[in-house]
């Protein structure tokens, strides 16, 4: 690769020595990013893979759940119900005579549930106390819940039809749930913003920890320290390019999310940018702290994955609800920066600008960032050992 000479030469003109040193460090770091395939791997390829997985691969929306239906007697109302199950977009229904035929399939996981319409169904219906049985595969609780709820839905709408036909009295109480911000309940709408958080964590924490640790390992940090460069310049000059890289990666991910996955962006780009910038402070600070303490790429990567990636994946509210966790773990999430970005980012995408929420989250992230930076600069005094 022929390096572009122009920008580096410009750095020799003007400015105070401090500013020149600072600029020189940033130019150096940017050139290194561009020439190191592994940083591009983490900043571009990995985000796209993750985005793709969360946009396409991982989905909490059950559709076309395979179920078996056992119709013990072929009365007309029973047949209507079977037809309703077969017509439902949530089920892929297969008919059988006996539940014993279906049991092995449920064990093997080939079907997710069995709906039993008893022989007495038609008679019960006339008495007003119809009962059908739904057997689910409890080994996957979430899917089991969906099967239950969807089955109830099918039965309810079937009964509603009878009400409309005047054969049944209307139910005394109806519920009308409305899902704001995401009426179609598409899980990708909240998974994709969440995965952007993970991407920024990987760049801010993992990549930063790696590159700073690499400087320690290769001895270039020592050479830097023996120059008149101040510690703050040294660290900031190192971090700003990664700050920019993180934002760039966020913009890339957002574009893909909006253009390719059809995730709405209802808030302002300004809010998105402000939140991302606030988040990168603790993320970079954490990376810096890890590298300053470990000074070794291998350990740094392990610690970054354990303390950065895993928590931002599991303890941020990205997939799992924080209030549902045991109290000690809920307390732990307070110091995890991703926990503040996930809700805000989901809001920017799906709701709009809700500044009271953003202000609190930005404040929390900056505070954590400050703590990390103070710890990191203590650990990176301009001395060795």
């Amino acid at each position: 690769m022929t390096p572009p000479a122009a920008p580096t030469q410009k750095s020799s003109q003007g400015g105070s020595p401090r500013w020149r040193r600072f600029r020189a460090l940033m130019v150096k770091e940017s050139l290194q990013i561009l020439r190191d395939p592994s940083s591009l791997l983490i900043a571009v390829v990995l985000p796209l893979i993750l985005l793709f997985l969360f946009g396409y691969g991982v989905s909490l929306d059950a559709n076309r759940l395979p179920v078996g239906i056992v119709m013990e007697a072929g009365s007309p109302p029973a047949r209507d119900l079977v037809a309703a199950f077969q017509a439902s977009r949530f089920f892929e229904a297969r008919l059988a005579r006996d539940r014993r035929e279906l049991a092995p399939d449920l064990v093997a996981g080939r079907i997710r549930g069995i709906v039993v319409i008893p022989a007495t169904f038609a008679a019960d219906l006339v008495e007003g106390r119809p009962a059908i049985q739904v057997i689910t595969d409890g080994s996957e609780p979430n899917v089991a819940s969906f099967v239950q709820n969807y089955a109830r839905g099918v039965v309810a709408s079937q009964l509603a039809q009878q009400i409309a036909e005047g054969t049944r009295p209307p139910p005394p109480l109806a519920t009308a749930p409305r899902f704001w911000f995401n009426p179609g309940l598409e899980s990708r709408f909240f998974l994709v913003p969440g995965s952007i958080v993970i991407v920024m964590t990987l760049i801010g924490t993992l990549l930063t920890a790696l590159v700073v640790a690499r400087e320690w390992e290769r001895g270039t940090m020592e050479a830097m320290m023996a120059t008149p460069v101040g510690i703050a310049e040294l660290l900031l000059g190192k971090l700003l390019p990664y700050f920019a890289l993180g934002l760039g990666s966020m913009i890339l991910c957002t574009s893909v999310a909006v253009l390719l996955f059809g995730v709405p962006l209802r808030g302002s780009p300004l809010a998105l940018l402000a939140l991302s910038m606030a988040f990168l402070c603790p993320a970079l600070g954490q990376g810096l702290l890890i590298s300053a303490v470990t000074k070794n790429q291998f350990v740094a990567s392990q610690v970054a994955l354990l303390s950065g990636f895993l928590p931002s994946f599991l303890l941020s509210g990205f997939i799992f609800e924080i209030p549902s966790m045991p109290l000690p773990i809920q307390w732990l999430t307070v110091i995890i920066p991703a926990r503040y970005l996930v809700p805000s980012l989901q809001t920017v995408f799906l709701t709009g600008d809700v500044w009271p929420l953003f202000r609190a989250d930005i404040g929390a992230m900056l505070l954590i960032g400050l703590v990390f930076f103070v710890l990191a600069s203590r650990a990176t005094k301009k001395r060795l050992v």
């Binding site: 592994s38 791997l41 990995l46 893979i49 993750l50 997985l53 969360f54 991982v58 989905s59 929306d61 059950a62 559709n63 076309r64 759940l65 395979p66 064990v107 093997a108 007003g128 009962a131 059908i132 049985q133 739904v134 689910t136 595969d137 409890g138 080994s139 996957e140 609780p141 979430n142 819940s145 239950q148 109830r152 009964l159 049944r168 005394p172 109480l173 109806a174 519920t175 009308a176 749930p177 409305r178 899902f179 704001w180 995401n182 309940l185 598409e186 709408f189 790429q297 291998f298 990567s301 392990q302 895993l310 799992f320 609800e321 209030p323 549902s324 773990i329 799906l350 709009g352 929420l357």
Partner: protein
């Protein structure tokens, strides 16, 4: 040959166990994952904060709120005066749902006319929102059955009698912990193997191995057995934790689980060796392992069912060893999976193991030249 192999295997084990960095890998992730996954990673919903607008003057509205309040799912229930407030609370994520009861709610119930409860939910958390909607609907349905009109009509919640096989109370840890056995074996097997060659290359000991009379296949076996043993060890720890700490019922036979586990580990180790042969440094090996592990876990059915994935993606998951072993691990624990079914998922594991180990051996030989 046995002397040489034994020496190599003992050395590999010692190198991993005596290296402080190696110990980080062996001890840190497994414990952390066991803790986080089994306690934090739950799609159950509890401690939910909700709000309500009760414009009703009669007793039915009050009764409904009382019942919601009594439910253990909800933590705080805030009364609101109007929709503007509701909007703010939802926007700022202070509550997950707002229940709205209209003025004529009690009147309509007493008059045996259909009454409506409106529930506004935060679709940003669509999974939790759906589950909460389900809870609320059940509470409302229960209430409905006690209304004057409800005593006549059956509500859907009574119409449908649900029975959850294998896990009657839908305990979430019964689902996650057996899955974790599979995931932890993947991560440990992958990291230990992918580091093994890269580490020797970086430390310069690889040449030392190559000039010894060890043959290539001996080195490969020597690099395969220790991660296999370590993987088995971790898997066993998790099996014990599942049974004794998390009280997951073990209904099937471990004699079916372990053979399948061995082939599963072999498949994973093949991938790890491949990554390791490809990498020049430990750094690259870690990144490579991560690049494989993230999609493998996400596309395995560990957290979200494969049925939910787009149709064209589903066949691809057949190549994922984790997918097959997950079925076996969960099946053996909860379902007493019959031998035939275990075999049906073990055969793909054997094929994948053959493929990955062959590819690793090929690359390993190639890289030596």
């Amino acid at each position: 040959m046995w002397t040489r192999l034994k020496a190599l295997i003992v050395k590999e084990l010692l190198a991993i166990l005596r290296d402080p960095k190696g110990r980080i890998v062996l001890i840190g992730p497994p414990i952390l994952q066991l803790l986080i996954f089994s306690f934090a990673a739950t799609l159950e919903v509890s401690n939910v904060d909700i709000a309500y607008i009760d414009r009703d003057t009669g007793r039915w509205g009050t009764e409904l709120i009382r019942r919601i309040d009594a439910s253990s799912t909800f933590r705080e229930i805030t009364p609101l005066t109007g929709m503007a407030e509701a909007r703010t609370l939802l926007d700022e994520r202070d509550v997950l749902a707002v229940v709205r009861i209209d003025q004529d709610f009690s009147r309509r119930i007493e008059a045996r006319r259909p009454a409506q409860v409106q529930i506004l939910l935060d679709g940003r958390r669509s999974n939790a929102a759906q589950i909460v909607a389900g809870y609320l609907e059940r509470i409302i349905a229960d209430l409905a059955s006690e209304t004057p009109g409800g005593k006549l009509a059956a509500s859907p919640s009574e119409t449908v009698v649900v029975q959850n096989w294998f896990n009657p109370n839908l305990t979430y840890t019964w689902f996650t912990v057996p899955g974790l056995i599979a995931v932890i074996s993947l991560l440990i097997g992958l990291i230990v193997t992918s580091l093994s060659v890269a580490r020797e290359r970086e430390l310069g000991t690889f040449d030392q191995l190559m000039v010894s009379p060890l043959r290539t296949h001996e080195i490969l076996i020597g690099k395969t057995v220790p991660p296999l043993l370590i993987g088995l060890f971790h898997a066993t720890l998790y099996v014990l934790a599942a049974i004794f700490i998390f009280q997951v019922p073990l209904r099937g036979s471990l004699f079916l689980l372990y053979p399948s586990l061995v082939f599963y580990l072999a498949a994973v180790i093949g991938v790890g060796l491949f990554i390791s042969s490809l990498s020049a440094t430990q750094q690259q090996a870690i990144l490579g392992a991560f690049l494989f592990a993230a999609p493998a876990v996400l596309l395995s059915g560990f957290a979200t069912p494969i049925d939910n994935m787009p149709a064209w993606l589903q066949p691809l998951t057949m190549l994922n060893p984790l997918r097959h072993f997950l079925v076996v691990a969960r099946g053996v624990f909860l379902k007493d999976l019959p031998a035939g079914e275990v075999l049906a998922d073990t055969i793909p594991l054997i094929l994948i193991a053959i493929a990955t180990l062959t590819a690793a051996a090929w690359l390993f030989r190639r890289r030596m030249e």
